[in-house]
Amino acid sequence: MRNLFGVIDLADSTEGLGELTSHRALGAVPIGGRYRLIDFTLSNMVNAGIRNVGILLMDRFGPLLDHIKDGKEWDLDRQRDGMFLLVPPSEGETGYTTPGNIPNLQHNRMYLKKSRQDYALVCGSNVVANIDLKKAYQFHLEKKADVTLIYNRTCTLDENPPYTSVATDENGRVVDIALNPQQCTSCKILLNMYILSKDLLLNLVDHCNSRQKRDLFADGIMPRLNDLKIYGYEHEGYVGVVNSLRTYYKHSMELLEPKVWQELFFAHGQINTKVKHEAPVRYLEGSKVTNSLIATGCTIQGTVENSILFRGVHVGPGVVIKDSILMQKAELGAGVVLQNVILDKDVTISAGKKLTGDPSFPLVIEKLAKL
């Protein structure tokens, strides 16, 4: 794997995540009690032996910088290789918040060019999975592919728009790619994660950029389906793609299945994240906790069911939390009752309030809000 480097594109669309992404990039969205979305992708890369990772920043990257710093938690603070924050061109040049990753890739062409590895793994930051990327890379080499797209089979496509699907032939070669189709026959959904040679990457970026195209995949790779050898590699394990509030909630709740918890956090190496040194969770007499993930720094006296508590949440006596996600340092007054609710960081709910959302439309309370 010393011949593969990673490029994480933070320009994923954050439409549909509402308040959760109003001040943070998609990769910085908190998930699973102590993680940020990007932790999965970063850890997968590092677990596969990737030692050079470039991160294409877009707007709202403050919380992300604060989270990943220089990659120390992923052992990416290095003299050689390591983690590189790829800053987009300033406003003057090409527009700072324009969608599409091409301007940013072009602006950081020197980083790509100077990377000592011959192959690149390009991906987004919103996939919750524990993928053995070593295998995907070996597949790419064995197939002598130009591009290997990583996909996952799922039969619940209608629940996961927008998605990109592929069809493959018996050898695994991709014969069709469909962006956001209304109907899909293949059930093979791309994880926005692909391997290609550095030379091809540089060519595609230059090609797109000089033709005012903005998106590496849609404008660079898709049109060349017949001309490039594009293969599909199937990741068979659990995958959660977070691209809407609904999928965020759904995949969060799936972490409460012991099988998913086990696979995600232990399958092909650990998922690393920023360390906060919180104390173990204190369960006082009278606490009733079932089927929940509780992060360190919490204190529990009330009732918690089918929920995820991030660090430093205090659940006082009489408080009832069901089917909810409470991010860091939520403060709950006495007798608060929450169901199907997502509290962003540092939310305060005053005593006696009862908030209820719907499983398909959880109620989101924005960061720092006081109710």
Binding site: R34, L264, Q270, P280, T290, I294, T296
Partner: protein, 412 residues
């Protein structure tokens, strides 16, 4: 080498033999404590929180675990270009090496290390105690008093004074008399084994102590009395707060149980004084359907499907369906199988309690067992498997070496 104002020397060589099998493969400072910590985390975190960034850790007994635990010191912000943490085992010279003769000798053998930083003050610490203390305040006190040596002190019950170095002080907290483990104590102010020395004085006294062949090379027994005999000013710095020596099975169990109070004396979740520890990248604990967790502490990566009452469950430990853990300590990676029972026990790292095994149950009428712990605490060794259905009677201390002798009769 950059000059440092303070260098801390942390004595972490303690064998902790009163902890029995818990310290068979570990030095006492490396013993797990409080759900996710090891004992030494408290002292190292005190250093970090007090702004001390140069710490020599003097090890000797089972140094490898401690060495690999401390690593480059990053959890305690001791991975520094200048200063940082250095693990200092006894040094083997061309013609052999030997263990440190005493606490003073341990520091004496590392005078070169201290010299490199040419500090004003040297802080002598022990890695054996559970407490939170701002050493910078003690150093300010030392400076203000113009002391040669300052000793941190805490009042202890009069009946326990014989276990400590105790000191009589005047109104200004100047030490008038020092008694090492007295039969009849004149004071109940006990030394916490935390000393501030002026570096020049420390060097002088340690060299003199080393030259004295009759000395047992111990700070409490030899060095402090020598300074006092010279009529030099030694001050007592009064400490208030929780402080506990966890040197026995009983005190280790008690100190863990102290954390389970509704209002514990030692707060672990104080954001202004965090206790730092080596992180293991584990997911949040999962408390499953049908579980019952009360009055307990649980750490990251633990998985509870059964009942946990008034217990401390460490990182990565798990309790299966129908199992019952009460008044117990499950150290990192311990697995309690289905329907197993664990009562008032300390189960050491990575041990597996198989299905239906019973730990800490009362002896049956007429059952012959060797009760080792009078408080009735059962201790199970690390990295062993307690077979399905085995019964281990309360107050016994189980080492796998004893296993083959009586597994049959214990399986109910």
């Amino acid at each position: 080498m950059q000059k440092k104002e303070v260098v801390a020397m942390l004595l972490a060589g303690g064998q902790g033999s009163r902890l029995g099998i818990l310290t068979k493969k570990l030095a006492k400072p490396a013993v797990p404590f409080g759900g996710k910590y090891r004992i030494i985390d408290f002292t190292l975190s005190n250093c970090a929180n007090s702004g001390i960034d140069t710490v020599g850790v003097l090890t000797q007994y089972q140094p490898l675990t401690l060495n690999s635990y401390i690593g480059i010191g990053n959890p305690w912000d001791l991975d520094r270009h200048s200063g940082g943490v250095s693990v200092l085992p006894p040094y083997v010279k061309e013609h052999g090496g030997e263990w440190y003769k005493g606490t003073a000798n341990a520091v004496y053998q590392n005078l070169d290390y201290i010299s490199r930083y040419d500090p004003e003050y040297v802080l002598i610490l022990s890695g054996d105690h559970i407490y939170k203390m701002d050493y910078s305040k003690m150093i300010d006190f030392h400076r203000r008093k113009g002391a040669k040596v300052t000793i941190a002190v805490i009042p202890v019950p009069w009946e326990e004074t014989h276990r400590f170095g105790v000191m009589e002080v005047d109104d200004d907290n100047k030490i008038v008399e020092f008694q090492e483990k007295p039969k009849i104590a004149k004071s109940n102010l006990a030394s916490m084994g935390v000393y501030v020395f002026n570096w020049k004085d420390l060097k002088k006294y340690l060299e003199a102590d080393e030259a004295d062949s009759k000395s047992s090379n111990d700070f409490g027994k030899n060095v402090i009395p020598a300074v006092l005999n010279d009529g030099e000013p030694i001050y007592a710095f009064p400490f208030e707060g929780y402080w506990k020596d966890v040197g026995t099975v009983d005190s280790l169990w008690e100190a863990n149980m102290d954390l389970l109070k509704a209002e514990p004396d030692l707060k672990l979740n104080d954001s202004r004084w965090k206790i730092f520890s080596l992180n293991h990248s584990l997911p949040p604990q999962f408390v499953g359907p049908g579980s019952d967790v009360q009055g307990s502490l649980l750490a990251d990566g633990s998985l509870v499907l059964g009942k946990v009452h008034h217990s401390v469950v460490f990182t990565g430990a798990s309790v299966a369906e129908g199992a019952e853990v009460i008044d117990s300590i499950l150290m990192p990676g311990v697995k309690v199988g289905k329907n197993a029972i664990v009562r008032k026990a300390i189960v050491a790292e990575n041990t597996v309690i198989q299905e239906g095994a019973q730990i800490g149950v009362p002896a049956r009428p007429g059952e012959k067992v060797e009760i080792i712990n009078e408080a009735g605490i059962t201790v199970i060794e690390d990295n062993v498997t307690v077979p399905a259905g085995m019964r281990i009677v309360q107050g016994t201390v189980l080492s796998v070496a004893e296993w083959p002798k009586f597994p049959e009769e214990r399986i109910s």
